[in-house]
Amino acid sequence: MGKNLRLKSARAARDLSQQDLADAIGVTRQTINAIESGNYNPSINLCIAICKVLGQTLDQVFWEDNGDA
């Protein structure tokens, strides 16, 4: 599983730190870091929560094509 650069860029576009995003969703910063690094596969509920905070769709943040998300 590769790095989730879309999530990272969407977060940066909203000027949110990993901690800000984690606080908004109700998870730890380590969990956001693990998702961005590709070390953790989040549940659909967590994906939806992330997308709602970032104002993006699941496709825009999590859909994988050509091997990278």
Binding site: S17, Q18, Q19, A22, D23, I25, G26, V27, T28, R29, Q30, T31, N33, A34, E36, S37, Y40, P42, S43, N45, L46, A49
Partner: protein, 147 residues
């Protein structure tokens, strides 16, 4: 999502580490039984099981702390301090009881049974050490910077 409990990644980590710790405990106890069958006695009966259990508990706790799965997203330092204080008080009471039991056994003329009191004493000492380590680690858990 509820912040007062562990998040989904922390729960997954804790379950995985818990399963590993249980299997380690199982195999260590099985090995101990096997060694006893061959006549190898590395410690007296209650203490060998006690040492194995405490070692596995340490392994579980250290792995959980290392994985950042000990406290949830919203666990404040105050909560951690309260938990630590409760553990230290319980351990101190247990230590006092065990010291009293050892002292009473020493003063009486009957054959002393110090093993239980010693086990309780060691356990309370270990609990204090673990509480302090956990307190320090839980305070440091969420201090890292973004990557």
């Amino acid at each position: 999502m509820r912040k007062s409990v562990l998040d989904e990644m922390q729960l997954q980590m804790r379950n995985r580490i818990g399963n590993q710790a249980f299997m380690i405990l199982f195999y260590l106890l099985l090995t101990d039984v096997g060694l006893n069958g061959f006549g190898v006695k590395w410690l007296q009966y209650p203490l060998n099981v006690f040492v194995i259990m405490v070692s596995t508990m340490f392994y579980y706790l250290i792995r959980i702390l290392w994985a950042g799965a000990y406290i949830g997203p919203d666990s404040s330092i105050k909560k951690a301090a309260r938990k630590t204080a409760a553990t230290v008080i319980t351990a101190a009471v247990a230590a006092s009881v065990s010291i009293f039991a050892i002292w009473k056994n020493n003063t009486e003329t009957q054959v002393p049974d110090r093993t239980s009191a010693m086990v309780l004493f060691i356990f309370s000492a270990v609990a204090i050490v673990v509480a302090v380590i956990v307190s320090i680690a839980s305070m440091k858990q969420n201090r890292g910077k973004d990557q």
